[in-house]
């Protein structure tokens, strides 16, 4: 876990010396910023939805059907992808490069499956971004999340190829730690989005 990027590791008097690298702290604040980004999106969604239902209109325009079966399966797929991600990070922490490679590609497959499900949902929906504020928010919120999953899959693929090349070791694998943090974050965001977009 020691620093890939840290030029010097100093610690102040009286503070506990931690083994967290600078990169770990950087990721925490990056993800905090991302969390605020999604919080703003969800707040905008709720603001517009409460405003419209408060005026007596229905939130989902008439004639529009929001299918929930596929998103349920998709949620299951994305949440289960957190397990191989976790095991991948555990494997390299013990120096097991073979298991790292296997679990990384499993995560990539589950992530891609989620994205395929989302693509199917987009192409088969009977509404579009112009279908009222409902359509606007639906595609914007799921779209931003999908973009993050896509970035995560690319990030995972880079880690996968680097693991094939033998870049990672027990003491040197910050990229895997970072992608694990990012991937769990994207998962948690999906749980929130799924709740407000489909269940509420």
């Amino acid at each position: 876990m020691s620093a890939v990027i840290s030029p010097i590791e100093t610690h102040a008097e009286g503070e506990q010396h931690t083994t967290r690298s600078f990169g770990w702290y950087g990721m925490v604040f990056f993800l905090a910023s991302e969390a605020i980004f999604f919080a703003n999106l969800i707040a905008s969604y709720l603001y517009l939805r409460i405003r419209i239902t408060g005026m007596g209109a229905s939130w989902i325009p008439s004639g529009v059907e929001l299918d929930k079966t596929l998103p349920f399966i998709n949620t299951f797929v994305l949440l289960s992808s957190s397990f191989p991600m976790h095991f991948a990070a555990r494997a390299i922490a013990k120096g097991d490069k073979r298991r790292l490679t296997i679990f990384l590609i499993m995560t990539v497959i589950l992530g891609s499956l989620f994205l395929s499900g989302q693509a199917w949902e987009y192409t088969h929906a009977n509404f579009n971004p112009s279908t009222g504020v409902f359509g606007s928010t639906f595609f914007t919120l799921t779209g931003f999340h999908g973009a993050h999953v896509t970035a995560g899959v690319i990030f995972l693929l880079i880690c996968f190829f680097r693991s094939l090349r033998g870049d990672f070791s027990k003491d040197r694998h910050f990229a895997v730690t970072a992608v694990e943090m990012y991937w769990h974050f994207v998962d948690v965001v999906w749980v929130l989005l799924f709740t407000v977009l489909y269940l509420l």
Binding site: T10, Y25, S44
Partner: protein, 581 residues
């Protein structure tokens, strides 16, 4: 690589372009060089923004003036604010922070040097993108806060950027005039704004993360957070605000982009959206933003006043933690920009109260600064003059700000020149005065050369006279009902002389800036680089190394035992750490 391959061919090794004068700057990841690039670039944008300000003031100097066309005027005043906020003050603070924070905390660089470099280039290209929009005749033109629905367009009415024929423009204009749903800004103007602002937003977030990790993790041994120089404290608070406030702007501008190009309806009232959503999102970024603009100036003043008073800061803990309090409160006050839109009374009461509350930690700082001056052996250097000017001018800006926090007063004054006066007292009288205090103070550290004190004092008096002439009459114009952002005005409304005085003041400020440029050229071009490491008899660690510091900053990482490490080194008979406990 290049050197190796050339050498093997048996010729004299050529230098790689990365070692050339220009290449070494383009590829640098050194925090001091990146800091200097930030400051130079921001200063160039300051000149752009200043010229835009003078164009605005020239247009408004006399009634019914036609110096600029109305279209050009809209672009110029929008770009004046956008440039000064996003391209001058924010990157200037990032530049100072980049240079000084690692030196102040005894580190050799920032935590993430390459992300630091990325942040600079994102800023440079974002700024370039915003500025080149003038060449397309399509600079952003909806005011710096770009209120929807004025910024809206639909794909049906967007101008094709490649079609230059008059017919298309005319058609779009006609559609807009006929009130086609949501078609107010059919040109490229807002698209330039969205693209530029988003690059700058990402740049700010990377910078914020970098500062936070640097300050939390890279302090020298013994430099606990409660011994850290106050400038570093305020940069840290600023960084938290950047990381947590910028995403609101990103969301707001992406939703606008989707409205304009993908057919969504977020801000289109006719289709169920709400233009007020823009205002909520924008100001939940925008109010933390104004503290992003002022907190580092607070930090600078808190460094400069003690040194030139020959005393430690009065109430260090209060100065530091009132900054944190301001940071937290800044997220709870955004709707005070929106009193006139018809918020529920309970919301108005809440936001009026929280806004008044934020005056308390700010006043705590002012009292602490005055307490620092009290009984000190004051040296009136140029830097100290700017710092003293800052306190008084910022106080005026703070007081007239609290005035418009009162809802009934705000009903009368919102969108008038009173508000313009307020923001210029806090941003020019505050941020810019603080910036020049810092510039005169730290310039020897940056360059190894002392700026000319006499020219500095001339600049100070030009600034003080100019800014009060330019911005004080705006109070009265606002009370007399002159709306902000209007192109021109009829004579004999009682605004004529006030506007002329304000324009004269603006040009005096312009002369002040020219004096500073002369000072800079004289110092950098004609003076010997012989500034001592500690020219001001200062207290903090950045003065413990040479001016300018070597690439590695400190040969050995210093160990700190108090808030005034350098004092301890210079006064071993009376070290500060002995007084602390």
């Amino acid at each position: 690589m290049a050197i190796g391959s050339v050498a093997t061919r048996g010729r004299v090794a050529r230098r790689s372009w990365k070692q050339s004068a220009v290449g070494s700057w383009i590829t640098t990841v050194d925090h001091k060089r990146i800091g200097i690039m930030y400051m130079y670039t921001a200063f160039v944008f300051f000149l752009f923004g200043g010229i835009e300000a003078l164009l605005v003031r020239t247009q408004l100097a006399t009634p019914n003036n036609k110096f600029l066309s109305p279209e050009a005027y809209d672009q110029v005043f929008t770009m004046h604010a956008t440039t000064m906020i996003f391209l001058f003050v924010m990157p200037m603070w990032t530049g100072f922070g980049n240079y000084l924070v690692p030196l102040m905390i005894g580190a050799r660089d920032m935590a993430f040097p390459r992300i630091n470099q990325l942040g600079y280039w994102l800023f440079a290209f974002g700024g370039l993108l915003l500025t080149v929009s003038f060449l397309f005749g399509a600079a952003p033109n909806a005011g710096w806060f770009s209120y929807a629905p004025l910024t809206e367009a639909t794909s049906a009415c967007l101008q094709n950027p490649l079609a230059t024929d008059q017919a298309a423009t005319l058609q779009a204009a006609t559609q807009a005039a006929q009130g086609l749903q949501g078609c107010f800004s059919p040109g490229l103007n807002m698209d330039f704004w969205i693209a530029g602002i988003n690059l700058l937003g990402i740049s700010s977030i990377t910078g914020g993360i970098n500062f936070i990790v640097t300050i939390l993790r890279m302090r020298a041994p013994g430099l606990t957070i409660n011994r850290m120089p106050l400038f570093s404290w305020m940069i840290m608070v600023m960084s938290f605000l950047l990381v947590f406030a910028m995403p609101s702007l990103t969301v707001a501008s992406f939703l606008l982009l989707f409205d304009r190009h993908l057919g969504t309806h977020f801000y289109q009232a006719g289709a169920g959206g709400d233009p007020l959503l823009w205002q909520h999102l924008f100001w939940s970024f925008g109010h933390p933003e104004v503290y992003i603009l002022i907190l580092p100036a607070f930090g600078m003043i808190s460094e400069i006043l003690p040194v030139f008073s020959g005393k430690p800061i009065f109430g260090y803990t209060f100065v530091a933690w009132s900054g944190v309090a301001i940071g937290f409160l800044s997220f709870t006050v955004w709707a005070h920009h929106m009193f006139a839109v018809g918020l529920p009374p309970i919301a108005q009461a809440f936001f009026a109260s929280s806004t008044t509350l934020i005056a308390i930690p700010t006043a705590v700082k002012i009292f602490n600064w005055v307490g620092t001056l009290y009984g000190g052996h004051i040296r009136f250097t140029a830097s100290m003059l700017f710092a003293l000017g800052f306190i008084v001018m910022f106080l005026i800006g703070g007081l007239n700000g609290v005035a418009v926090a009162v809802v009934p007063v705000d009903y009368q004054l919102t969108d008038t020149y009173f508000v313009v006066s307020h923001i210029h007292y806090v941003l020019f009288g505050g941020a810019v005065m603080g910036l020049f205090a810092g510039m005169f103070y730290w310039f020897p550290k940056f360059s190894g050369r002392m700026l000319d004190e006499t020219l500095g004092k001339i600049q100070f008096w030009l600034f003080i006279i100019g800014l009060n002439l330019a911005f004080f009459p705006m109070h009265i114009m606002g009370l007399l009902g002159m709306p902000r952002r209007q192109y021109t005005y009829a004579p004999n409304l009682g605004w004529d002389q006030l506007n002329l005085i304000s324009t004269i003041g603006a040009f005096i400020l312009g002369v002040g800036v020219i004096v500073f440029i002369v000072n800079g050229i004289k110092t950098l071009g004609f003076m010997r680089a012989d500034a001592p490491g500690d020219p001001w008899d200062a207290f903090t660690l950045e003065w413990a190394t040479t001016s300018p510091p070597p690439a590695e900053n400190f040969a050995t990482i210093p160990v700190e035992r108090s808030r005034r490490t350098l004092w301890d080194i210079k006064h071993p008979e009376d070290p500060e750490w002995r007084r602390e406990h």
